[in-house]
Each structure stands twice: as structure tokens, then as C-alpha cells.
Amino acid sequence: MKVTIVDYQSGNISSVINSFTEVAKGKVNLEVTSNVNKIKSSDKIVLPGQGSFKSCVDSLNNINGLIDTLKEFAITKKKPLLGICVGLQMFADVGYEEVETEGLGWISGKVTKIDNQNGKFKLPHIGWNEIEIQKESKIFKDIKNKSHMYFVHSYEFVPDDRSVILATTDYSTKIVCSVEKENLFGTQFHPEKSDKTGLKIIENFIKL
């Protein structure tokens, strides 16, 4: 099996590479690339994302044919794809960080700033928070409800269809922190930084 981490020159993906390498250890062929042909021949894709919504979308657009290739992979062929942090947020139709920016439109909804209740909650939402699992998913196999995951973000994905929500976390409001729609999976938290529990989620994705 070939798992590809999409390296589209946006932010720091070293930790994603390190954690997937740790889990994959000899079992899975792991590639880190933006080469569209290599992406096409993959079995699974990981779409990381750091920085702003706009900068990530811009970076995807900067690589010729990348968005079309990802779309063909995820939407037409319906092969498994995991979006992490802004990687998940980009599933949305639109994001409002910096300026209104069109997203990939794979799961309808928008990305807006977390309501910090006039400064009552500090932003970014940084640190370990509990996840409340809303429905069963293969990527949460053997993950206990209220497990701790590591978060760093100021914006949240608000899907139109609440049935895609796998888990929420409590910070000012119930923030959507994981989604699943058919072959699309996403986590707002960073499994690659969430210790053994995070590595387990990565393993679950690899084993899908």
C-alpha cells in the first residue's frame, strides 16, 4: 500500500512525516510529494495544513494540476483522504481567515473564527483538549471518548450537514474537531502531536 503526504510547500510538515514514518515502519510505502502522478498512483492521501486558510489554498493553487488531481482522487475515485488542521478546513466551501477565500467545497460549510466571547477564551486555542466522540468511525477504533488531543488553531470548520461530525471539543462552544464523509476524513487537532493516542488514529487511517 502507498500512502502519500501531500507536500505543497505550506507550513511545517516535519511532524506529520515523523509520525507517519513511525507508524508505517516497513509496513507501508510512505511518500512525501506534490508530484501529481505519484499522488494519482497512491492508495491513501494525507493533506496537512498550517498557516492561514488563504495561504494554504494559495499554495495548493500554485502547484499546477494539484487541486484537480486531489479532486479526482477524493471525489471521483473516492479513495481515502485525511485532512489535518487547515487540511480539514479546506474541505469547506469558504474560509474567512484574512479574506474570504474559496475552499475545495468537498464538504459544504464554512470556516470562521472561534467565538472567544469577547476575550474570555484565549486564541489561538492551543494545547490539549478532550474530544467528545459523536459517532463511531474506523479512524477512532480503540480511541476512548474524552481522549486528549493537541490543538493549535483560531478558526473552526462549521459544516452545514451536522451528520458529518465525528467529534467535537469544548472551547467556548462545541467546536467540530473531526469529520467523516464517505472516504473523506478530517481532524482539526494534530494526531501527529497527540502522543500515543494520536499515533493510534494515524494507524487506524493507514489500516482503513
Binding site: 511545517n12 516535519s14 515523523n18 498550517q50 494545547g127 502531536k193 497527540s194 502522543d195
Partner: protein, 265 residues
């Protein structure tokens, strides 16, 4: 009353207060080492980071006190090795003064970098760094010393150089310029083991809206409690209480939990 409110608040808060052990590294070796019996090599930063991470540390912080350009490859190598074994966030500080320094550390596997002197010299560097890499990985380290009642001044170069800059004003400025967190060290308290400068922490947390990591002066577990509950810090950083094996990370967490401070157990 304020303390009582904070206690109720703490109980409700799902986001956990972080415990961050800090390792001072000089020329590739840990200076204040952990005194744990299970250590094979007391000076190896990678091995120590792994022990902390396995012991439940919420993040790991390396402070490179060599801080000379010639030795940057040494810290980068340590970060690279640590990042392959520790799957919790890793912050690296000491001598970070250019975009290239940050790029090198992030590529090696650091999740955040901490900027100190370079931020004081040129606040635009903070802005440029946070624009390029995102606020989530830019921590500004502020070293402050008390000059008057309720007035603190920023110091640089490990507390040697006075700047005349008001610490509270500077903290507001780093927030405006895109820092994701503030690592706040009291130079009066650092190394004394007599507790944090709680008034300083409170002055900064009251005047900013980004997470503050308290540092400098921890000698007992109660000091960690004060930093969080009385000072309002989101995270507490400590070195010697963990290094000398007096307390493990687990002890700190269990203690805080017993006092209704929310931590990741």
C-alpha cells in the same frame, strides 16, 4: 473571591493547563541534567526528552544556551533525533535571529520556535516570522525584571542587557505582531526556587489575549498551582524540579488535579 472564581473556572475548563519541562542544552549536552536512575547518559538531550515525553509532558522545550552561530548544526541535529521519538510538541529557543534559523529548526522537526533578543531588537521580525510560518509556531520569550512596584522591564541576552522597555507594553506589542504565545520568565525569580513572580504573570495575562507560559522560580508543586490559578498562565514551564528527580511530571499533574486544576492525566 477571585481565586474561588478561578477554581470554578478551572473545573469547567476542558482545555488542559500544560506542564512543560525545559532542557538547557549547551554544545549538544544537557546542562542541568535529569537525575533519574534509568538514564544511561545524563547529558543526552534526546534520551531526556524521551523520558519526559513518555512520562506525560505536554510539550518539550529545548533552550540552546550555546547560542553561537557555529553551533547551530548541533541543536538542529538534536531536534531532528528528538522529533523522531517524541510525538508531543517540541519548542526550541536560543539564538533564533533569522528566518533561515526558523526554517532550519522547523525542517528538523521543531513545532515552535521561541524568539527572544531578536524580537526585542526588531519587532518586525516577529511579524515576518508569524506571517511566513503562522502564529502557531512563533513563541516570543520575554525576560523581565521588576524595576518598581508593578513595573517590569524587558532584559535581553539571558538577562544581562537592560532595554528600558516596559514588559507589559512589549507583551501587547508581540501579540499585535502575530506571536502565538508568550514565554514569560522572571529574571528576579529564575534559579531561586522561591516561586514564580505571580504579579508579573498576572500583569501580562491581564493585558494580553494569547496564551502565556510562566517560567522562572519553580521550587515546589504549589508554585505551579500559583502560576496557573493566581497568575492566569495557560502553561507552566519548569526545569530544576524535574531535572533533579524530586518530582516527575506525573507527580505535578496529580498534585494539580487534586487541587482542581485541569491537566491531561
Amino acid at each position: 473571591m477571585v481565586i474561588l472564581n478561578l477554581m470554578i473556572w478551572q473545573r469547567r475548563l476542558m482545555l488542559k493547563n500544560r506542564i512543560i519541562p525545559c532542557l538547557d542544552v549547551k554544545n549538544g549536552r544537557v546542562v542541568k541534567g535529569i537525575n533519574f536512575v534509568e538514564l544511561k547518559d545524563a547529558g543526552d538531550p534526546v534520551e531526556q526528552a524521551k523520558i519526559y515525553s513518555d512520562g506525560g509532558a505536554d510539550e518539550i522545550c529545548f533552550l540552546d544556551i550555546t547560542a553561537s552561530n557555529e553551533n547551530r548544526d548541533t541543536i538542529i541535529d538534536i531536534v531532528r533525533k528528538t522529533a523522531k521519538e517524541c510525538f508531543v510538541p517540541l519548542t526550541v529557543g536560543g539564538g533564533v535571529r533569522s528566518i533561515q534559523n526558523i526554517t532550519d529548526l522547523l525542517l528538523a522537526g521543531a513545532d515552535k520556535v521561541s524568539i527572544n533578543t531578536a524580537a526585542v531588537k526588531n519587532i518586525d521580525f516577529v511579524k515576518e516570522a508569524s506571517r511566513k510560518f503562522g502564529s502557531q509556531c512563533i513563541v516570543v520569550a520575554i525576560d523581565a525584571k521588576k524595576v518598581l512596584e508593578n513595573k517590569w522591564e524587558v532584559f535581553t541576552h539571558g538577562g544581562r542587557n537592560k532595554t528600558g522597555i516596559n514588559a507589559v507594553e512589549f507583551a501587547k506589542q508581540v501579540e499585535t505582531n502575530g506571536a502565538g504565545e508568550i514565554l514569560l520568565t522572571s529574571m528576579d525569580k529564575d534559579g531561586t526556587r522561591s516561586g514564580y513572580d505571580v504579579d508579573l504573570i498576572k500583569a501580562i495575562t491581564d493585558n494580553t489575549n494569547i496564551p502565556v507560559i510562566a517560567s522562572g522560580g519553580v521550587g515546589t508543586l504549589d508554585h505551579l498551582y500559583d502560576g496557573i490559578v493566581k497568575g492566569g498562565a495557560s502553561a507552566v514551564l519548569a526545569a530544576s524540579i524535574f531535572h533533579y528527580g524530586e518530582y516527575k511530571i506525573k507527580d505535578a499533574k496529580e498534585y494539580l488535579n487534586s487541587k482542581n486544576v485541569s491537566v491531561r492525566l
